[in-house]
């Protein structure tokens, strides 16, 4: 296979550290904003909202890797998918911690009650729970131990995570009667998942491991 120039660049050793650095930028920005009182009148709400939206953005980007590497003939992109996936998980954990700490004062009883009472919270927590095994098996040793096929099958959970994440976001925004932003996320996700379904001959094919 002929490697394009971009592919060659993508194989350079410094790309991965650079990617990690880029992944840290939104959170670092929030921390700087917090320290310098630039997060507006309600910094706690801003921190919860921004970590949540960045979780979605990183997840959508992770899901874009496969279509992009085919469409743009950039096979080297694949080596960064796992880093992006781990970034999704880190932002999801930060989002949950921000909620649990700033909204619920880290009172476990209140958090459990909230999850039980509110579908919107339940769906968000479910997405985080489903993400956890994916994050825990994101090391080479875990792939070897599970075997490629089983590892791949397990990581199909990411589709469920994406749909739950979108629903969580939709329910949150619907309260304000403003779902235009949610629609943008929904359309992009539809394209990303639709591309997979088309290539694999339907949704079932998409869920089957090769």
């Amino acid at each position: 296979m002929q490697l394009s120039l971009v592919n060659q660049w993508l194989l350079k050793p410094w790309v991965k550290p650079l990617l990690w650095l880029l992944c840290a930028v939104p959170f670092a920005g929030l921390m700087v904003g917090l320290a310098t009182d630039q997060l507006g009148a309600n910094p706690a709400e801003k921190l919860i909202r921004e970590t949540g939206e960045w979780t979605l953005r990183w997840l959508w980007l992770t899901l874009a890797v496969s279509p992009l590497r085919e469409a743009a003939s950039l096979p080297a992109l694949l080596r960064y998918r796992r880093s992006l996936g781990v970034t999704v998980f880190i932002y999801a954990v930060l989002h949950f911690l921000a909620y649990a700490w700033l909204d619920k004062g880290l009172v476990l009883d209140d958090i459990i009650k909230d999850v039980y009472k509110r579908n919107f919270i339940l769906v968000g927590v479910a997405a985080l729970v489903l993400m956890t095994p994916l994050a825990l098996t994101s090391f080479n040793a875990a792939i070897r131990k599970l075997g490629g096929k089983r590892w791949q099958a397990l990581h199909k959970l990411v589709y469920a995570v994406a749909l739950l994440g979108l629903l969580h976001f939709y329910w949150k925004k619907a309260a304000k009667n403003d779902v235009s932003e949610v629609m943008v996320y929904a359309v992009i996700l539809a394209v990303l998942l639709g591309w997979r379904a088309m290539r694999k001959g339907g949704v079932m094919g998409m869920l089957r491991t090769r």
Binding site: L34, A41, N42, K117, A175, K176, N177
Partner: protein, 349 residues
């Protein structure tokens, strides 16, 4: 007005004898100093005030000849002055720490200018609060059309410090300037068929970019029962922090109903209608299950998607400050509880 305790479950913070924050009590030396300062200022005042009004702001000089009073909060010096005398209405002074001006004016829900909290602050510059006409019609003996200057002179401007609790779970404490809505409504001589009051906000695409979106069914409509509207705490506000209302806060005049969730307090009002049937407010129309007609602040009735038991007081106690307990009727139970005696507040949310 008698203070009637209608419920044993909620203690009231505004008995007048307790001060939530001891540092909020004005020391004698300070208020005596203020009085001396006022005497001097009275002589100079007119000229200075006229200058501010001339700087392209909506308040004309003559309306500002209103009574000077000891302001409870320092003017930020951003807009034209609108001084108010101290209010004698019971409950008009929340003892809470007042929310900083920057937070009051940069964190608003005013969907006519966008749905993000900072949108109104960024986009409301296109609103023209002058000239402005308010009409009062419907079940009234004397329908009225009042210009802003008439409205400003209609009653004595009072400064009142109210808590504001948003349905979303955050709260502020705001020093408003205005007078009781009853002052205005009485002028129109409501008939016996006037059971409710409907408030209609401006909806002008040219001035309000958000009106082009279909987020709500424009114009923004709110409503109160007539006894709620005539309650002395219900206020028609023309200013805050001793100055005219910033556009993003609902210039040139807005409703303030401190014991209800913030969205009940309609902004930039152009029409008040007295009616015999319960008006359908914009949020009820959009989602009746989540936003009822009454929308009284009530920590025991949750929003379907979040708890209303606590609130985040903006600008107080730092980033990690725990949320505050939300008070029944936002802490105005002693003043307004009797309006709802015998009502099932879970049903009439």
């Amino acid at each position: 007005m008698a203070l009637i305790r209608t419920s044993r479950h909620f203690s009231h913070p505004d008995s007048g004898m307790t001060h939530g924050v001891s540092s909020e009590i004005t020391p004698r030396a300070v208020y005596e100093g203020r009085r001396a300062w006022l005497k001097e200022a009275a002589a100079l005042g007119g000229a200075a005030v006229g200058l501010q009004a001339a700087s392209g702001l909506w308040l004309s000089g003559d309306a500002e000849a209103a009574t000077a009073a000891a302001p409870l909060v320092a003017r930020p010096g951003v807009l034209a002055a609108l001084p108010g005398v101290r209010s004698t209405v019971v409950g008009a002074y929340a003892m809470d720490k007042v929310t900083p001006y920057e937070k009051v004016t940069r964190y608003n829900n005013f969907y006519e200018f966008g749905t993000d909290k900072e949108d109104p602050w960024q986009n409301a510059g296109t609103l023209k609060p002058r000239p402005w006409t308010l009409s009062i019609e419907g079940e009234v003996g004397k329908p009225l059309k009042l210009g802003l200057d008439d409205l400003l002179k209609l009653g004595a401007m009072e400064e009142r410090i109210y808590r504001l609790r948003c349905v979303e779970g955050w709260s502020m404490v705001i020093p408003w300037v205005g007078y009781s809505l009853s002052t205005l409504i009485q002028r129109a001589a409501p008939t016996s068929r006037a059971k409710y009051v409907e408030f209609i906000s401006l909806a002008d695409e040219k001035q309000m970019p958000g009106v082009r979106s279909g987020v709500l069914d424009w114009p923004y409509v709110e409503g109160l029962r007539i006894d709620e509207a005539m309650h002395p705490l219900t206020m028609m506000a023309f200013g805050l922090y001793g100055e005219v209302l910033p556009n993003q806060n609902g210039a040139p005049l807005r409703l303030v109903v401190p014991w209800k969730y913030g969205f009940k307090s309609a902004k930039s009002i152009v029409k008040i209608r007295l009616v015999d049937k319960e008006p359908v407010s914009s949020w009820t129309k959009a989602n009746a299950r989540e936003y009822g007609f009454y929308s009284n602040v009530n920590p025991t009735v949750d929003h379907p998607r979040w708890s209303q038991a606590t609130e985040r007081r903006l600008g107080e106690g730092g980033f990690f400050a725990p949320r505050k307990t939300t008070l029944m009727f936002n802490g105005y139970e002693a003043q307004v509880g009797q309006l709802y005696a015998g009502m099932d507040l879970k049903k009439y949310y």
